[in-house]
């Protein structure tokens, strides 16, 4: 019973961090019609900046600066894609692979084989109640992710910016005819994606994870199945998919012994297993509309 509750909690905490990543991923996909393979490297950049800045700026200051810088980097990638968009649907996506390799190589060179501490205030502390023990960092990540996602959803639903984002995703030309400024909206989507990736980096590397290393960005690859499971391009789908993937991963890790006949390391492939199973049953994803690709 305690294992169940603990596993459930871990899954939700993990899923909430994936939600921050896949939300950015989805926004960028809607805004630029590209699958952003550079998302992982942007996340790594955010985490790396917190790691090098927290000793001088303190953790909150470092997080603010890192989030802003990652947002800026993401906007720059978005601008690069703009030029490539006229060249056909696949070109921008391929361009993000190039950006990913460049950014990752540079960051990996700087990080080397180190495991960097991000100086987060939760450290290795745990909280326990009713016999269940959980890392404080995971409680924080759950709370932060819920607040950020709620703030985003409220803005998306109720503000002028959110309305502009929704109409721009619905019909770009009609939105332009209403005076929506497509360029600014696209930039704002990339900025938000960068910001959320930096925050996600902090929670991904916090306890019980040892810290940030060069492979941290690869975790973003798990948010990819999360976004696809939900239905690429659907905000609600990205959130549902993230929770599903987080839970699948936590359960296959938490019940490793019972699942051992299937081999060890199941938790690493669980997100992809979920993706394949969902896509076989529902190719458009859980909440995705059957979308013919729009040019």
């Amino acid at each position: 019973m305690t294992t169940l509750v603990q596993t459930l909690f871990n899954g939700l905490a993990l899923g909430s961090v994936y939600a921050l990543i896949s939300l950015g991923f989805t926004l960028v996909h809607k805004a630029s019609d590209a699958v952003n393979f550079a998302h992982g490297s942007l996340l790594l950049l955010g985490g790396y900046l917190v790691a090098v800045l927290h000793t001088s700026l303190g953790f909150p200051g470092a997080l603010v600066v890192a989030a802003a810088a990652t947002a800026l980097a993401a906007v720059t990638v978005g601008q690069l894609l703009r030029a490539a968009r006229a060249q056909g649907a696949a070109v921008p996506t391929i361009l993000t692979i190039g950006v990913d390799i460049l950014l990752f190589t540079e960051l990996a060179r700087r990080i080397g084989t180190d495991v960097l501490n991000l100086g987060d205030p939760w450290g290795a502390r745990v909280a326990s109640f009713a016999g269940v023990t959980v890392a404080q960092a995971r409680v924080a990540s759950l709370v932060a992710a819920v607040l950020l996602v709620a703030a985003f959803l409220a803005a998306f639903r109720w503000t002028r910016w959110g309305l502009a984002m929704r109409v721009n995703a619905s019909d770009r030309e009609a939105a332009a005819l209403m005076g929506a400024r497509g360029e600014r909206l696209r930039a704002s989507a990339w900025a938000l994606a960068g910001l959320l990736a930096a925050v996600a980096a902090v929670f991904l590397t916090a306890f019980p994870t040892p810290g940030l290393d060069r492979t941290t960005g690869q975790v973003a690859l798990k948010a990819f199945p999360a976004a696809v499971v939900g239905g690429l391009g659907s905000v609600g789908g990205a959130l549902v998919g993230s929770l599903l993937v987080g839970l699948a991963e936590a359960f296959s890790a938490g019940y490793q012994d019972q699942l051992s006949p299937l081999g060890s390391g199941l938790s690493d492939v669980a997100p992809y297993l979920v993706m394949v199973l969902v896509l076989i049953a529902r190719p458009q994803g859980l909440l995705g509309a059957k979308e013919s690709s729009r040019v």
């Binding site: 006229a86 309305l163 109409v167 619905s170 005819l177 209403m178 005076g179």
Partner: protein
């Protein structure tokens, strides 16, 4: 001294649209308009007629600043609205200048509610007052009561005629001084065509000019003061609507009437006949 009554908000500026020697190309080679000149007097209704592919939508795109979305560009010539030069301006700048286009095929935001579609009509305004937004919304609902009844409904689930009303209402939310309508009656039942045509007249009565692109030439010539006929990217005919409606050439080519003597059948093969001329 008694205060004069406040002037109605929409009547204060009287601007004419001036399209001057406009040449437009798509990509490097497709020339869709060639030195087209056209004028919509302030508060007037002008009809733009022409067969499929004549360049009617291209002209509207050139005015509304949406050519770049189609890889098109103004090669030469100019577009002016009052004292503002709209040539090569962005779509947002054109909306801010008071010119709003209702696109061909309605293009409502299908997954959004009716009311969100209408709210989107104000996205281009720089000066935004809540009170004015509310008042404009009420005006649009008064003009199209069916939109008020369906305000929470998903726009994509409405009928074609209702979507056309929504597309027009959405454009009116910006309080334009000139409305560009691209084939508003396309595919609509006669009753709905009648409804749209009444609305166009009502819009003009409220001081907004209309540039009306129509394949339904009979309807357009009845509504408009002035009309232009485009043919393969150039103005072939223009004049007062009543005169054009009476001219043999227009009657034959666009109103579906045969010439009196069979022997004078000199319609060039390149001019396709238009469907749906009947009202």
């Amino acid at each position: 001294m008694p205060q004069p009554p406040p002037a109605p908000a929409r009547a204060e500026t009287r601007e004419a649209l001036d399209v001057n020697q406009l040449t437009v190309a798509y990509g490097r080679s497709v020339r869709a308009l060639h030195e087209v000149s056209l004028r919509v007097p302030a508060g007037g209704i002008v009809a733009l007629l022409g067969a499929n592919g004549a360049g009617k939508s291209t002209l509207l795109r050139a005015v509304s600043g949406t050519l770049p979305l189609h890889q098109g560009a103004v090669v030469s010539g100019s577009v002016g609205f009052g004292s503002a030069d709209l040539t090569g301006r962005s779509a947002a700048q054109v909306v801010a200048a008071g010119v709003v286009q209702v696109p061909e095929g309605r293009r409502v935001f299908a997954e959004l509610s009716v009311e969100d579609n209408l709210r989107a009509g104000r996205l281009g305004l720089v000066r935004r007052g809540r009170a004015e937004a509310r008042a404009t919304l009420d005006e649009v609902y008064a003009l199209f009561p069916v939109l008020a009844e369906r305000r929470r409904q998903t726009a994509g689930l409405m009928s074609g005629g209702e979507q056309q009303m929504l597309a027009m209402g959405r454009a009116l939310m910006a309080r334009p001084r000139l409305l560009l309508l691209d084939e508003p009656t396309l595919g609509l039942a006669p009753l709905m065509v009648e409804r749209i045509s009444e609305t166009v007249q009502e819009i003009r009565r409220r001081g907004t000019g209309v540039l009306l692109v129509e394949q339904n030439a009979a309807l357009a010539l009845e509504l408009a003061d002035h009309a232009y006929v485009l043919e393969v990217g150039a103005v072939r005919l223009s004049g007062p609507a009543a005169e054009l409606a009476a001219s043999d050439e227009v009657r034959r080519l666009y109103l579906g009437e045969q010439g009196d003597e069979p022997g004078t059948e000199d319609v060039p093969a390149s001019v396709p006949a238009l469907g749906r001329w009947q009202r």
